[in-house]
């Protein structure tokens, strides 16, 4: 009892400090050691108080760095919008998406900014690729690589995944031209025209485009911005309709950066087994984790039905066009499809990236990037909290964007064109669904360098949407 009293005292004292802005958004709380000595408390008591504040979403533990203020308590308005369950339907993707992609915008508010120096991690990467090019000899250039890809790169990818709890062999991996290409191969291998595919809602527009082009039908499963696809909703969907595959992104799904808890992952796999479902895991955001990268769903797959798809586009470079797939029981068919639709990947490029991973440069890059992303995220969220009215913002622990819910009378879709006139490109909420939902929402990226132009651009965005 006495001990319980003491941790509550500490919890209240810390909470008051956050309310008083003694520690502001993104700042570090005093260390456990300092709290123990200053407050004369045991380490267990201090940890207990901190964990309770973390569970309320007010602070965040960062490995080897301590606890950081995540949100002001009065700013804790979490997105609440929720998709409806509707019957499977054909997909018809908006032309808007093509317009955005045609602008090479990468969903950046200010695609023409392109400021700053090339980060050291990319300079090193380009040197590795250059060296691999210079190593070519004889008539190397006259041979296609093996369809599965370079063995050196596949070994490095296997090691990389082993650190995240999934022990893969290089034979289980096939190199692709990015994650979109991997998702395409996964859907081609598991579905036939007219089949029903379950997806997250809101979720990744690229999957919706693929379903449209492959003549597949979609059923959208309501998805929490914090914990990912709702397993109760998925269960209901699977009982009502014959679903062939489920595309899910347990580690920082787009648009909001949700992280699926372990028990939900296990429930997903049990449902997949009961309903004989292919599970296509879009793992592309895993290495943008602001802390330790979460284990993939694939690590729990004992039944050979999780196809893992990923690429270097979000965590390293979008211009590499290099991804990978692990096809589970469909792997041979996927290898065959890769061969038939593209023959091979570039050997020098794969070898350059393999070297970059083997000498530790990739890990260093991820470490540096993690710090920048965290700082950008905190600054973006802090700025959005200064917007007037009912503005709710997700607080992702990974990914490259936040999901913002605005008052119900805001229409982000109809603001797209006026945004263009003001020199900003927005990513309206309805892009992340086929049913026209999320009109008052949008996704905002924090992937790009934070500077005065960006702050000014976000000011223009506020004017556009809220005035």
């Amino acid at each position: 009892m006495a001990d319980e009293y003491r941790y509550q005292q500490l919890e209240n004292w810390l909470l008051q400090g956050i309310l008083d802005q003694r520690w502001r958004l993104g700042e570090r709380l005093p260390s456990i050691r300092a709290l123990c000595s200053e407050m004369d408390l045991s380490k267990a008591t201090v940890q207990h108080a901190l964990q309770r504040l973390e569970a309320q979403g007010l602070i965040e533990a960062r490995p080897k760095a301590g606890y950081f203020v995540l949100l002001q308590p009065d700013g804790v308005k979490k997105p609440v919008s929720r998709a409806r369950i509707e019957a499977p339907r054909p997909v018809n993707v908006s032309d808007l998406l093509l317009d955005i992609m045609g602008r090479s915008a990468a969903f950046d508010l200010l695609p023409d900014l392109r400021s700053g120096d090339l980060p050291p991690g990319i300079v090193t990467l380009n040197r590795s690729i250059g060296r691999a090019l210079r190593r070519q000899k004889g008539d190397d250039y006259q041979y296609y690589d093996k369809p599965a890809g370079d063995i050196g790169l596949r070994e490095q990818l296997a090691l990389h995944h082993a650190r995240r709890g999934w022990t893969a062999s290089p034979e289980q991996l096939c190199v692709t031209s990015g994650c979109q290409h991997a998702l395409f191969l996964a859907l081609m291998a598991t579905c036939e025209r007219g089949d029903v595919v379950a997806v997250e809602s809101p979720g990744f527009y690229g999957v919706l485009q693929l379903l449209e082009q492959l003549g597949l039908r979609v059923v959208e499963v309501p998805t929490s911005i914090e914990t990912g696809m709702d397993m109760n909703a998925l269960e209901e969907v699977l009982e009502r309709w014959k679903v062939r595959a489920c595309v899910v992104s347990p580690s920082f799904s787009t648009p909001g950066g949700a992280l699926m808890p372990e028990p939900e992952k296990k429930r997903l796999l049990a449902l997949a087994e009961r309903h004989d479902l292919a599970v296509i895991e879009d793992d592309i955001y895993a290495d943008t984790a602001l802390g330790r990268a979460p284990d993939p769903l694939k690590a729990l797959d004992m039944d050979g039905r999780v196809i893992l798809c990923s690429s270097f586009s979000k965590c390293l470079s979008r211009d590499l066009r290099l991804g990978w797939i692990s096809g589970a029981r469909w792997h041979d068919r996927i290898l065959h499809l890769k061969l038939v639709t593209q023959l091979a990947s570039s050997r020098y490029l794969q070898q350059g990236v393999a070297d970059y991973m083997a000498d530790g440069s990739f890990s260093s890059h991820l470490r540096r990037q993690r710090h920048e992303l965290r700082a950008n995220r905190d600054k973006l969220i802090a700025l959005l909290h200064t917007w007037p009215g009912e503005v709710r913002v997700s607080t992702p622990k990974g990914g490259l964007a936040v999901w913002v819910e605005l008052p119900n009378d805001v229409n982000t879709l109809s603001s797209y064109m006026s945004g263009l006139e003001r020199g900003i490109i927005i990513t309206p909420g309805p892009l992340f669904s086929v049913s026209g939902q999320f009109e008052n929402c949008l996704r905002i990226s924090f992937a790009h360098p934070w500077n005065t132009s960006r702050i000014e651009g976000l000011g223009r965005l506020q004017d556009l949407l809220l005035s």
Copy 2:
């Protein structure tokens, strides 16, 4: 009359010289100027005699170099095998093809040889790519390229095609990951599951694999090793069955390097218009021409129904994984499919290749390569003519391989495994068809450096097939 007599005299004298091996296979005849002065003949008379010998396939004109001996008259045994017309059928591609591709063999007899230095054209190419990598700046690496590809590369490709009689604008071109990827996009855009596609027979196995994976049915059109797809046969096919698309390779089709004459091209386009057919032109071998590269079929397309597909894989490097497509009336749909299945191509790579084309390095490379390919072809044909029995060999004016017809009791397919045991990989005739034809045929590449190992390998091939 007197003039006719004189050119016949010269023709007979030259013929006798070839028979006597005064001028051997691949050697140059005396120049027109020398013949005029030595034989005291007019230039017109000498040209007339040379053109008659050329029409008989005995000699070959090479621009700015003169006339060269092509074949010994008694060696003129041209391949005669001809495909049968059979009803459309689903495609089931042999596992053998996957085995060959899995060996990264590029259809080379001796894939493990990889000897020699990197040619200067490839060294220069790699330097251009390296420079483009080093030009990256700011957050370039965070953006995808536009789906159609880099405008600089598309401008260079448009210029390149303009030299071959086809005036394309960059907007008509979309960059792909190689020609196989382009063919895949073309078939996805024009056909639906169950549709019938007409192909060359013998023809490119990669197309057969695509038809299999896309659930399309094939009808094989008999194809001459010298003049390409037989238009009488195609007409018969189009009258009997509803065909959606026709895949054809007018410039040096594989396996034999056939070159479709201009009148046949016009007939193809007229048939396509009458039967409302998409024509998919596989133009990948055009730049391997031993003389001037022929105009593409696309240059004659007034009706927007020829989709041109090509890549740098055969004329420059198979490891670039860079191709292009011009989609005619289906171009928007093809752009959309490129975006959805792959997002974008690598910008630095495209810019490196664009620089390489713009500074003339690509043209120099093609010039150098042309001389080597011609020499390799002549040596290969000369060696094959020393084989005993009824051996017929194609004499392509471009492409990278000859088609060889052996006595009827030879079975190239069943020799594949014993070939592997002897360290050689053969490309059996039946791979080039779905109907098990061409058992006594095989394709042999002359793309690789000619040396004693290769001569010895061809000796092993002769033992394998003819002893």
